[in-house]
Structures are given as structure tokens and as C-alpha cells.
């Protein structure tokens, strides 16, 4: 009982002042009616100010409706209403203060207020103030996002005021950060701005750099003597810091020197002055060298027919007599110094984060290469054959994933089904290939290479005939969309994390199979010495078949993984085959750790080269391959070479 009374009391207390203000707001609108009716950019400011200071709860909605041209005025008494459509073409009036219905009216009885765009922009700016302290955190965030994108000087004080009332710590942090950024941009007090600039030291955010970089914008200017009243970034030495020609052009632009006549204009002048096949005393037919043309032009200039040339010496002395400086657009040296120092500090931090990002990228690429190459490495190690169709097993896996998705529409379920199915399909294809072709080419590795190439082109073309040449999508489940973002520099997509986990899982699984199971024991035995193994009762044919199937099956899994981020085409596999070969060759044959090392090296190498030459991934691949060719010189058997009898061939 007591609780109910308390609630009622609280409600009363909350409602009472609101009630009292209603009439205030009405009167307020009444006072400014004329200016609200016909607003203009020059007269609207005091009205907005008065509305904002009134603290009435209806003001925010009022401003919003006004801006969106949804405010109506009754012609009879000049009162403002919001409207809703009612039956019979009539409009239902809604009181601006209470939100209560205030009867119906014909459309003709009302005027719709449509402020022009300038006024609406001013209303919107005013609205920010209300939105920033809106009780709904979602709307506050929206307002902040809008401000981050586009803010002006007036928002700074509004934002500062809004920080104090903020209760949500996350939003408050964002507000503080934005306030600092705006201070850098619009602040009036130099010390304040410097403090704001310094506060971003070591901050890798893009917004911080975006705020700081404009402060350091420079332009090259010419002075007769060393300047004193400008904020100089650097004094330029003509010839080293600035080209002689560019320096002279600056002088010309500043009106401090005579303009050079460009080559094209000189040619036009010559053409214009041809008389009877002769120009400047030189026959036209002789003007086949620049030297002859210059001679003719000088002769013309001597007669005054064309503007004279500016000699090299004249240019040089004119340049030498002036001072060329890079001048900051920002006049305050304290600001530019602070910005420069902060930016260099930031660039150190960003460099560290970029390195971390590079490591993540390399790991991700390495895990893809590992998945693509490990199957190849196993078959190569055990049987000594290169399977050129390995890339097509990757493709088979990817298409299996695609077909499964056509049947099972749920992406999560379809991926879970596709992974083992891709393994099974590729496993069967591998076993078939081994039994039908490779077994009959035992001890002829080069023929095997070419025969599997034949299989490869046949499989590719068959896939093209079945699925067409256009890329087929293999959609990842929605929980793999997006990316893990640590800050503006370090991020990695969830798909790549998933592939990394998948690669780790297969690394573990293969290590387990090879080191802890009977099959693994036999595989290792055949790898090391097939004849000895067979005399110990191991059937090498069976082992070869199973290993080949296992290697192909993993390629199938890799296909599903690759298909998730690349489009599935019949050429999907061949894009990875050469990299897979490289991985195996660099890593060393017949050893999981070798393949891991090879994949790690090739992946990180490619990413590092791309990092230094980001615009040109083709060049990155070229350099990488050249590097590998050189690497093979020093370790012909790969990073991890088998020792002893197994190494002999």
C-alpha cells in the first residue's frame, strides 16, 4: 500500500512541473509567432535560442517537426499544430504541447510551414543539442555519429555542455573524444588546442590523424627575403628540395619574373610567322631539330615579332635572389609543433600495430597455404609423385560446398555438412586417381606429373561444362560475417580466423594420425623406405592409396575454406597449385612441420612484400618466386630436410 502511494506521489511530482511549463511553451511560441511563420537565416537565431533556453520538454519534437516540414498553423488563430491524416480527407490536429488531440480541421483551414534549407540547417544544428542529451542512449549515439561525420564550430560548446550530463560511461568517452577532436579543429584558445593535440599521442585512431594532418598542410611560397611573420615549415633549397623549373614557375606565378614561353607556344609562334616557306631566316624544311627551331625563334624574337625567351642564366639568378619556403596554413607555431610531434608519436604506435596486423595477415595466408599444400606434401613425401590435379581436388571440395548449399539452405548446417562431404568426395576421387592412374606409373615421377596434369585439365573442363564459367557463391554463415576489430589498424575477418582454426585442427589431426596410429606408423615406414616396409609386412599399395586419399580429402576441405572467401570457379584450384608446390618445396618433403614452416615463410613473405608495395600484388608474387628460386640454392631439400636413407632418391 505504501509503495503504491509512493509511486503515485512520484508521478505527481514528475507531472506537475511539466504541466506548469506547458503554458510557458505556448506563450513562448505565441511571442515568436511572426518569426516562426516567416523564418529567415538572419532572424531565426534568437528564436531558436529562446526556445532552447526555455527548457520545455516539447522543444526537441517541435524543432524536429519544424525541420521536417511537418508543422502546421491554423489560419484562424495562428496556433501551431502537428497533424495526422483522419477520415474524410480531414486532418487531425495534435497539440504542440501536450500531444493531445485538438479536434479535426479541413486542409484549407491550415498552412503547412516550409522553412528553407538554410533555416532547416540552423534548426538541425540546434537540434543536436537536444539529441546529445536525449534520454534514449540510442539517439544520443546517432547524434554523435552525425557529429563525427560533420560538425561545425557551434557544436563545440554544445558538446562540452552535454558531456557533463552524460551518465553512460561509453557514450561519455566518445563525447570526450569528439570534444577533443573538435577542440583541435575549432578551438579558440591556443593552449587548449595544444593540450587536445597532445592528448592524442600514441592514439592509432584514424580520426585523430584526420584531425591532426590538416594542421600540417603546407604550401610553397616565395619571399624576397627570409620571412618572419609566417609559420615556416621548411626553407627550400632550389635544385635539391625544389626543382629549378618549378621554382621559377612559382616566381612567374607570383609576378616576380617574366614567364617562359612553353615549347608548344613557341611552335605555334613559328607556324604563325612562316613567310614564303621561311621563318626567322631559316627555311621551314630545315626545322627538323629543336636546335634549328630555337635559332629561328631567337631571330624572330630579335625583330620583336614574338615574346623573347628567358635564358637559363636569367632563370637561375632570379631563383637565387628569392627565398622559397614551405609555409604552414596554420599560423600558430605552437599548434604545428604539437601536431608534428604528436603525429610522429602516433606513427610509431601505428607502426607497431601495423606490424601486429601484418603478423595476423601472414598467419591467415599461411594457414590457407598450409591447408592447400599439406595434402600435396603428404602424397609427395610418401609416394614421391607430384599430383598436378591437387588443385582440382581443392576445386571439387569448393563445388561440393556449393552444391550442398543449394540443397540445404541453412548456411550453418550446410557448412557443417559440406566439410566432411567435401572430404569424402575428394577422398574418393583421390583413391580413384591413385588406383586407375598413378599406381601404373610407379617409379616414373615425371610421367606421373604429366598424367595428373591431363587429369587436371579434364577435371577443370568438366567442372566448366557442369557449372558454367561464371563464379558460384559459397556463402558463409552469418556468424562468420564481419571482422574482429581491435582498433583502426588491427583487424581480421572472422572467416580468416575460422580458417586459421581449421588449419590448426588439421595440423593436430595429422600429427595425431601420423604419430599415434597404426596407419601413421605404416605411412612413415613407407615414406622412409618402401622396400624395407613391405618386407615387414606392410602393404605399400594400400598405404599409397590411403595416403593419396587422405591428401586429396584435405584438399577438398581446403576447397570449402577457400570457397568461403573467394568465388568458386573451375580455376579456383589452379590459382593455388603453384603456391602449394612452392610451399612443399621450400618446406621440405614428407614432413608436416616442413610444410608448416614453408607455408609460414611463403605466407609472411608475400604479405611483407605486399606491405612494402601495396599497389602491386603482381610484383609481390614475382619477387616472392624469385626469392624462392634463390632460397632453393641454399637449401635444395627445403627448410626441414629428411636425413639418412630416406633423403636419397
Amino acid at each position: 500500500m505504501l509503495r503504491i502511494i509512493l509511486v503515485l506521489l512520484t508521478a505527481l511530482i514528475l507531472v506537475a512541473p511539466a504541466h506548469a511549463q506547458q503554458s510557458d511553451f505556448n506563450t513562448l511560441l505565441e511571442t515568436h509567432r511572426a518569426k516562426i511563420e516567416k523564418p529567415s537565416r538572419t532572424t531565426i537565431s534568437p528564436v531558436l535560442e529562446a526556445l532552447a533556453t526555455s527548457q520545455s520538454p516539447g522543444v526537441a519534437v517541435f524543432l524536429e517537426k519544424w525541420r521536417e516540414k511537418q508543422l502546421w498553423q491554423r489560419k484562424a488563430d495562428g496556433r501551431f499544430f502537428y497533424v495526422e491524416k483522419a477520415d474524410g480527407g480531414k486532418l487531425k490536429l495534435i497539440d504542440v504541447d501536450t500531444g493531445a488531440e485538438a479536434g479535426l480541421a479541413e486542409q484549407a483551414e491550415l498552412d503547412n510551414l516550409k522553412p528553407n534549407s538554410g533555416v532547416r540547417a540552423m534548426i538541425a544544428a540546434k537540434l543536436v543539442q537536444f539529441q546529445l542529451s536525449d534520454p534514449d542512449p540510442e539517439r544520443r549515439l546517432q547524434a554523435l555519429t552525425a557529429l563525427e561525420r560533420d560538425a561545425n564550430e557551434s557544436h563545440l560548446s554544445i558538446l562540452r555542455a552535454a558531456i557533463e550530463e552524460e551518465t553512460d560511461p561509453a557514450i561519455k568517452a566518445r563525447k570526450v573524444r569528439l570534444q577533443l577532436l573538435l577542440t583541435i579543429k575549432f578551438g579558440s584558445d591556443s593552449a587548449n588546442r595544444v593540450a587536445a593535440i597532445r592528448s592524442f599521442a600514441g592514439d592509432p585512431g584514424v580520426d585523430a590523424r584526420a584531425a591532426l594532418n590538416p594542421l600540417l598542410a603546407t604550401s610553397v611560397k616565395v619571399f624576397d627575403t627570409a620571412p618572419e611573420d609566417v609559420n615556416v615549415a621548411k626553407i627550400l633549397t632550389p635544385g635539391s628540395d625544389i626543382e629549378q623549373d618549378a621554382a621559377y614557375q612559382l616566381l612567374v606565378d607570383a609576378g616576380k619574373a617574366r614567364p617562359i614561353v612553353p615549347l608548344a607556344e613557341r611552335k605555334q609562334a613559328l607556324i604563325a610567322n612562316i613567310k614564303d616557306g621561311v621563318v626567322g631566316g631559316v627555311p621551314v624544311a630545315e626545322l627538323v631539330t629543336q636546335e634549328a627551331r630555337d635559332r629561328a625563334y631567337l631571330a624572330l624574337a630579335a625583330t620583336g615579332a614574338v615574346p623573347p625567351l628567358v635564358s637559363r642564366d636569367e632563370q637561375r639568378s632570379a631563383v637565387a635572389n628569392h627565398v622559397f619556403t614551405e609555409v604552414y596554413a596554420e599560423p600558430d607555431p605552437a599548434l604545428t609543433t604539437a601536431a608534428r610531434e604528436t603525429l610522429s608519436d602516433i606513427s610509431t604506435t601505428v607502426g607497431l600495430y601495423q606490424f601486429a596486423d601484418l603478423v595476423l595477415d601472414s598467419l591467415s595466408l599461411a594457414s590457407i597455404y598450409f591447408l592447400a599444400a599439406i595434402g600435396l606434401a603428404i602424397t609427395f613425401g610418401v609416394m614421391g609423385v607430384i599430383n598436378m590435379a591437387h588443385g582440382e581436388f581443392i576445386m571439387i571440395g569448393a563445388y561440393t560446398g556449393y552444391v550442398v548449399q543449394q540443397i540445404i539452405p541453412n548456411y550453418t548446417v550446410s557448412i557443417i555438412v559440406a566439410l566432411p562431404l567435401a572430404f569424402a568426395v575428394a577422398f574418393l576421387a583421390g583413391v580413384a586417381l591413385e588406383r586407375l592412374v598413378i599406381r601404373h606409373l610407379a617409379h616414373r615421377p615425371l610421367e606421373t606429373l604429366l598424367a595428373t596434369f591431363g587429369i587436371s585439365i579434364a577435371l577443370q573442363q568438366i567442372a566448366k561444362n557442369i557449372f558454367g564459367t561464371q563464379a558460384r557463391p559459397l556463402t558463409s554463415p552469418s556468424w562468420l560475417d564481419g571482422a574482429w576489430v581491435y582498433n583502426d589498424v588491427v583487424s581480421i575477418s572472422y572467416i580468416r580466423i575460422a580458417i586459421f582454426v581449421l588449419a590448426l585442427a588439421f595440423l593436430g589431426l595429422l600429427l595425431f594420425i601420423l604419430n599415434r596410429t597404426r596407419l601413421g606408423l605404416e605411412v612413415r615406414a613407407v615414406t622412409q623406405n618402401p622396400r624395407m616396409a613391405s618386407s615387414m609386412g606392410i602393404n605399400p599399395d594400400r598405404i599409397n592409396m590411403l595416403t593419396f586419399g587422405l591428401g586429396s580429402g584435405i584438399a577438398g576441405i581446403a576447397g570449402v575454406a577457400i570457397g568461403l572467401f573467394a568465388k568458386v570457379t573451375s580455376e579456383l584450384g589452379s590459382g593455388y597449385i603453384v603456391q602449394s608446390f612452392m610451399t612443399v618445396v621450400v618446406g621440405g618433403v614428407g614432413n608436416i612441420w616442413g610444410t608448416l614452416a614453408g607455408a609460414g615463410m611463403i605466407g609472411s613473405l608475400q604479405k611483407v612484400i605486399e606491405f612494402f608495395n601495396p599497389s602491386n600484388t603482381l610484383a609481390a608474387q614475382t619477387y616472392m618466386i624469385i626469392f624462392i628460386i634463390i632460397f632453393i640454392q641454399f637449401r635444395p631439400k627445403g627448410i626441414i630436410a629428411l636425413k639418412g636413407r630416406a633423403a636419397g632418391d
Binding site: 626545322l287 627538323v288 615425371l446 610421367e447 604429366l450 598424367a451 591431363g454 628460386i629 632453393i632
Partner: protein, 389 residues
Amino acid sequence: MQRSLFVRQPSVLIFIGLLAAFTIAITVLSEGFGLGLVSTSFIKILGKTLCLCLVAIAMDLVWGYCGILSLGHFAFFGLGGYMIGMWLMYERTKDIVIASLAGAELPATAEEIREGIGTQIFGVVGGAEIPVVWYFADSLWAQLALVVLVPGLLALVFGWLAFRSRVTGVYLSILTQAMTLALSLYLFQNDSGLRGNNGLSGLQNIPGLTHLPQAVVSVWFFLASAFALGVGYLVAAWVVSGKFGSVVRAIRDDETRIRFMGYPVEAYKLVVFTLTAVIAAIAGALYYPQAGIINPAEIAPIASIYLAVWVAIGGRGRLYGAVIGAATVSLLSSWFTGGQAPSIPLGFYTIDWVDWWQVLLGLGFVLVTLFVPKGIGGLFDRLVRKDAS
């Protein structure tokens, strides 16, 4: 020496005789010089096929006789094409630029002509400057020398690196494939100076011979290709028939034993590798003026694998086998992919050879490897043996 060559390689005389007869017959039947029964486009196909036969001979030397399965010889072929293509394109563009500047009020200066050529050739890759690699492009003799020198040097350096570190077998194949891939990726870049993926085009227009119809020029190139093939066959036969050839074959069969016998195995391999690269480059230099266009896709690793496939189908270790393989497969290939082969209706599905030729080639190739390891050329061996017995 001459006598012993023909005695040891009886196929040389037969081959050169057949080639000469074929060449004369085609020339007589051509549009340019004779009855006009063979179309110009077919003459071009035949001329190109002869060049492919020549590069197949090179491949057979290096693989069939020396045991190095190089997956990079088509890269040398393409490089040769690029070298001659630079001269063809530069000179032709120069003619065009001079013709277009001829009407101007002032006669053009050398700089203006160079600038015009630069814009014409490199406008597509967003440049106007003529890159350094085109330094000799205005000289036919220099570019002809480069046809031999550039691929030869590349093969020399690459081979030296590879053989020195005793890379053999499939490792070497993969390494050569890597070289090919690196080269083609490099050429794909716009700033490689060779027009990126646009490649060089308009190569069928021979500067200085533009007044002649293509019907005549194509026959000339056909004859030149036939001559080059004949000489190439002769050189290859000479190389494999003497003592040098014996050592090379011995290296193929047991490299370690030859090394223990005191032969510098690496030097022999390097000579064969470089020589065949040069032959491939010459074949390429004759091929691309007939094809009219060359781009980095021609150098892609798959082309070199196809080359190995031709030689394998034709029969390794027999020079005529390489020629037969290259001619058969490339002619069949253009017949099937050209849409001329009749489709086979099966009722529920129609086999369209444009789509299924690759499958047929791939599987056919597997069957040849499995069941006819000596290739088509091996069938001749049987005939000869039957005659002898």
C-alpha cells in the same frame, strides 16, 4: 661427320625431304604464289604449327634426351616473340606517327616523333615515355640479337643456379614452372615496360613490307618457319648423334654414374638447357609475327605444360616424335576448338567439341602415358623393327 650424322640419324634425310616436299606443295597451292587452293589463314596456321614443331624439338632435346622436364620452355618462346615484337611494333608505330605528322606546318623533329610513338604504344598503360628496355627497338639487327641473347642469358643464369645446387627431377620441374609464373606475372604489370596485359599487337604488319598483301607475307613466313624447322632438326640431330649426345643421354639415364666417371654433368645440362632455350626463342620470334599478337597469358605456366604434353604424345627421345606430337595436337586442337568439329548428339545430351575437347585431350593424354609410353613416334619404331626382322 656429315656422313656419320645421316647414318646415325636416318630420320634426318627423310624428315627434311618430307618437309621440303610439304613446303613446296603448300607454296604452290597458296593464294600468294600459286593456285590459291589454300587460304591465307590456313597458311598462317601451318606456319605457326611449324614454329610449334620447332619448339617441340627443343623440348624433346632437353626432356627426351637430357631428362630435364622443363616447364619453362614456352617462356623462352614467348620472350623471343616479345623481342621481335618490340621491333615490329616500334617501327610500325613510327611509320604511322611520321605519316600523321607529315601534314603539319612544321616538319617533325626527332623528339616529336619519339613522343608520338611513346603515346601511341604506351597510352593504354597510362604512359607516354618509352621505357629503357625499348632502347634498341628501332634496330632490327639489335632486336634479332636480343631474340637470342635475352632468353639465352635467362636460361644460362637460371640453369646455372638450378643445376649448381643439384636440383633434379620433379623439383626442377617445379622450379622452372615457378620461373615461368614469375616471368608472366612480371609481364602482366603495366609498369613492366611491355604494355602489361595488353601485350604487343599488330605484329602481322611487317614494317617496310606493308605494300605486300598478307597472302604473300604469310607464305614468306611459312617458308622461313619451314627453313628454321629444317635447320633446327638438323642441329638437334647433330647434337644428339655425336659423343656429346651420348653423354647427354647417359646423364638422362644415370646422372650419378656419369658424374662419377668424371664428366662435368652440370656443364652438359647447362649447354643443352641454354641451347634449347635459344631454339625456343627463335621459334617464338617466327611464331608471333604470324599470330599478330603476344601477351603475358601466352607465357602462363600451362602453355609450357602443354608443350611437354605434345612431346609426350609424339614420343620422347625421338626428334620426329616431337614434331608429330606438336603438329597433331596443335592442329587437332585448333580444329576442335575452332568449332569445325561436328557435334555428337546423344539424344539426352549433345557433345559440343568446343566444350569437350579439353576433356578428350586430358584423358587421351593420360591414356597415352599409361598405355603408349613411347608416344606416336614409338609406333614407327615397331614398323622399322618389323621391316628389319
